[in-house]
C-alpha cells in the first residue's frame, strides 16, 4: 500500500460521553474522490470532524502526508492544506460573498487575486453576487460560497459534509459537476453524502460506515453493484 495523502486508522472518539467512532479507518490518495455513506447516526460527519480536529480522538491516529495530525486544532489543520466545508452554517451570513472568500484566505498573506479569479471561474454565479450578503443567497449559491471559501487556500484535500443536503435538484447536479471539476484540477475530495447513488457514481472509492465502524470499502462502481450495499443503504 502506498502512503496515502490522508489516513485515519482505528479512530475512536466523540463529543464527550459515549464514543461515536468505534475504530474507523479512512484513506484518501492525492487525486481521488472518496465518498462516505451510511445510515443516519453512523458517524459519517463525526469522522470528518475528527480528521479536522473538531472532535476529540480518544484512540487511533490521523496522518497527513505521513505526518501525525491527531487532535491538532482546526486552525492548525487549516494551515496544512486541508479545507473543511461544514454541512450547515458554512458561510458568514452578514459578510458579502467577496468578503467570505477573502476570509477563506485569512491565514494567507499577500495577493489573493489569482485564487479569487479561480473561484469565480468555477462558480460563475458568485461573480455577479459578490457584493451581496452571503446570508441572502439561495441554498445552492451559499454552498458555492462555502466551497469557494475553502478553495481560497489552495488545499490539497477538500472535506465536504453533505454538500447537496437540502438543495433543489437542479443545484444538486450543478454542485456534483463542480466537485468533479475541482477534483480534475488536482484537489482530492473526501465527502459525506446522503445522495449515495449519485455520489458513488463519481467516486473513486467509497466507505460504508455503520455504528462508527467500517462496514464496506470498495471502488464506487463496485459498491453500487454490491447487492448487500444496495439493499441496505441505497434503497434497494
Amino acid at each position: 500500500m502506498t502512503a496515502a495523502l490522508l489516513r485515519a486508522s482505528g479512530v475512536y472518539g466523540g463529543y464527550g460521553g459515549a464514543d461515536i467512532l468505534n475504530g474507523v479507518d479512512l484513506a484518501v490518495n492525492g487525486d481521488e474522490i472518496v465518498v462516505i455513506i451510511g445510515p443516519n447516526g453512523a458517524g459519517k460527519s463525526t469522522a470528518m470532524k475528527a480528521v479536522f480536529g473538531l472532535v476529540r480522538i480518544r484512540e487511533g491516529a490521523v496522518a497527513w502526508d505521513g505526518r501525525d495530525i491527531t487532535n491538532l486544532s482546526p486552525d492548525r489543520v487549516a494551515r496544512l492544506g486541508l479545507a473543511y466545508v461544514p454541512q450547515e452554517r458554512n458561510v458568514f451570513p452578514n459578510l458579502t460573498v467577496h468578503e467570505n472568500l477573502e476570509m477563506g484566505a485569512y491565514i494567507r498573506s499577500g495577493d489573493i487575486s489569482e485564487q479569487l479569479a479561480r473561484v469565480y471561474e468555477v462558480f460563475p454565479p458568485l461573480r455577479d453576487k459578490r457584493r451581496q450578503a452571503a446570508g441572502l443567497l439561495s441554498g445552492g449559491q451559499r454552498q458555492m460560497v462555502a466551497m469557494g471559501r475553502a478553495m481560497m487556500l489552495d488545499p490539497r484535500l477538500l472535506l465536504l459534509d453533505e454538500p447537496t443536503a437540502g438543495l433543489a435538484p437542479a443545484f444538486v447536479e450543478q454542485i456534483f459537476e463542480r466537485i468533479v471539476e475541482i477534483n480534475r484540477a488536482g484537489i482530492a475530495i473526501l465527502m459525506v453524502e446522503q445522495n449515495a447513488r449519485h455520489a458513488l457514481a463519481l467516486a473513486d472509492r467509497g466507505y460504508v460506515l455503520v455504528n462508527g465502524q467500517n462496514s464496506f470499502t470498495d471502488t464506487g462502481p463496485n459498491l453500487l453493484a454490491n447487492r448487500e450495499v444496495a439493499e441496505a443503504f441505497l434503497g434497494g
Binding site: L54, D75, P86, R89, V91, F92, E99, E102, M103, Y106
Partner: protein, 295 residues
Amino acid sequence: MLEFVNFYLIPGIVLGSIYALGAIGVSLIFGILRFAHFAHGDMMTLGAYVALPLVVGLGFTVYAALPVAMAGVVLMAILIDRLFYRPLRDRPTIIVLVASFGVALMLRAAIQFAWGPHSHVYEKGFRKPIVVEGLRIAERHIWIVLLSVALVVALHLFLTRTKTGKAMRALSDDPDLARITGINTERIVAWTWVLGGGLAGAAGVFLGMDTQITTLIGWNMLLPVFAAAILGGIGKPYGAIAGGLVIGIAEELSAYPWIGTTPLLDPTYKSAVAFAIMVAMLLWRPSGLFKGRVY
C-alpha cells in the same frame, strides 16, 4: 421652533452621539465575546479622568487630551481583559458578566482613590455660544458631534476595508466557522477592546466636556447605552449608532412642553425614557431595529 432646536434637539443630538459611541462598544463586545459588558460605563468615566490632569494640570486643550484618554482606556481595557475576562473565556458568559460588574466597581473605586470624590470640570467659566439667525449652538457641541462622526466613519472603514475588521465581523457572525477558517480569536478579541475601549474613552471625554466630571458619570450612562445597543439590535454596531441617537433625542424631547407650557416629562425622569424604550423593544422586537441577536 428655535427654542425647540436650541434647547431640546441639539442637546439631544449631542447626548445621542455620546450614547452611540458607548453603545457601539457594548455591541461589538457582545458580538465577539457574548456578554453584556457592565464595566463599559466606568471605562467611559476613566476616559474623562485620564484627560483631566492633562487639561487642568498641563494646560492641554481637551481635544489634544482626547487621543491620550482614548489610548489610556484601550490599555486599561486590554489589561482588564487579560486579568479578569480571559481566564473565564470558556465559562458560561453569565459568569463573565458578573465579573464585569466587579470590574466596574473596582474601576470606580480606583478612580475615586486617585482623583478624589469631588466633581471636576475641564474648563471653568462660561463660553458664549455661536449664534446664527437665532440658532444657538455651543462650540463644544459642534466638536462633539463632528468628532463622533469622524470616529464612526473611521470605525466603518476599519470594519469594511481591513482584513482584521472583516475577520471581526466574521467572528461575530459565526465563531465556529471563523475557527475552521483559521481566524485567531484572541487577536480579534484584543482588537475588540481597542475599538470598544477607545470609543468609550472618547465618550467619557465628550461627556466631561458637557457636564461636571464625577466618578458616577459613566455608570449613569450604562442604562441608556444598553438601551441604545438593544434598540439597534445587540451585536450590530451600526444599529447601536441609530439606537444611541434615538435614545438621546427621545430623552431630551421628553422634557419639551408638547402639551401646554410645562415639560411633558419632568427632566429628572429622563433616564426613565431610555428604560421604557428598552423594555418596549425587548417585549415587542427583542432583535432590535437591525435584527441583532436575541437572548
